[in-house]
């Protein structure tokens, strides 16, 4: 059986079909499948959050996520690498981003999953707007690595720490 890289779309304006994505992630050569679901919580920095809204520069986000998945596949010899990020309104408890990796052993699947999530959060042109319970809203939690690296294209990744 060939490696499983039939990819769903990288961006979705509809709720993410987690069971569907997971069912397509299995591979006979993979002894480990790791699924990360980034979900919307009801608070941030002491404020009650009503929902999030995601916006993306779609052409670049799609191509960048494809590059990230291809790099992870090669680096960790993955059988499966899937990532899908929401756009539009995402309610509390719903999934904003899902990443699934499958490899022969769990170490590679865990490491690759973290790498993919990390790079998407730092690099993909996707933005969240927090809408609060009091009716206010704020674009927030932007990557601020440039304040440390001095270069807007250089990031500090958790997977390197």
């Amino acid at each position: 059986m060939e490696d499983n890289f039939a990819r769903p779309t990288a961006l979705s304006g509809e709720p993410i079909d987690m069971p569907g994505l997971l069912s397509g992630a299995h591979h006979p050569g993979a002894g480990a499948v790791v699924l990360f679901s980034g979900e919307v919580r009801d608070n941030n920095l002491g404020r009650e959050v009503a929902y999030l809204e995601y916006e993306a520069y779609e052409p670049l986000a799609v191509s960048l996520i494809a590059e990230i998945l291809a790099t992870a596949k090669q680096r960790w010899s993955l059988h499966t690498a899937i990532a899908q990020h929401r756009t539009g309104r995402v309610d509390i408890g719903d999934t904003a981003v899902v990443v699934i990796t499958a490899s022969a052993h769990r170490g590679e699947a865990y490491a690759a999953n973290k790498y993919i999530v990390d790079r998407i959060k730092h690099e993909a042109p996707i933005w969240k707007c927090e809408h609060y319970a009091d009716g206010a809203h704020q674009w927030g939690n932007n990557c601020n690595c440039h304040a440390v690296t001095g270069d807007i294209s250089k990031h500090i990744y958790e997977h390197n720490q």
Binding site: G38, Y54, E55, A56, Y57, P59, L60, S63, H85, A96, V97, V117, I120, K121, H122, E123, A124, P125, I126, W127, K128, C129, W139, G140, N141, N142, C143, N144, H146, I152, S153
Partner: protein, 77 residues
């Protein structure tokens, strides 16, 4: 040239607008944008620029007929 901005930049500029003045590179474009809204300096200093779905730097010669996308720092996930 046409300018498209996203996310927090929309608090400072219209989502889409045109620049008729001659700007040859991203530094000159940033300087021009500050004449439109001088409060945008901090966020513009952290933005990347893209043309035809690829990132560009200040060495890139801007075409007056191009569409420039201004990309704030990511906040996905």
């Amino acid at each position: 040239m046409k300018i498209h901005v996203y996310a927090a930049l929309k608090d400072y500029f219209q989502p889409e607008f045109e620049v008729d003045e001659l700007v040859r590179n991203t530094d000159e474009l940033k300087a021009h944008l500050l004449t439109i809204n001088d409060k945008a300096g901090d966020i513009l200093s952290s933005c990347r620029f893209a043309v035809e779905e690829g990132f560009i730097d200040n060495a890139f010669n801007l075409n007056q007929h191009a569409t420039i996308v201004i990309i704030p720092p990511s906040s996905g996930g």
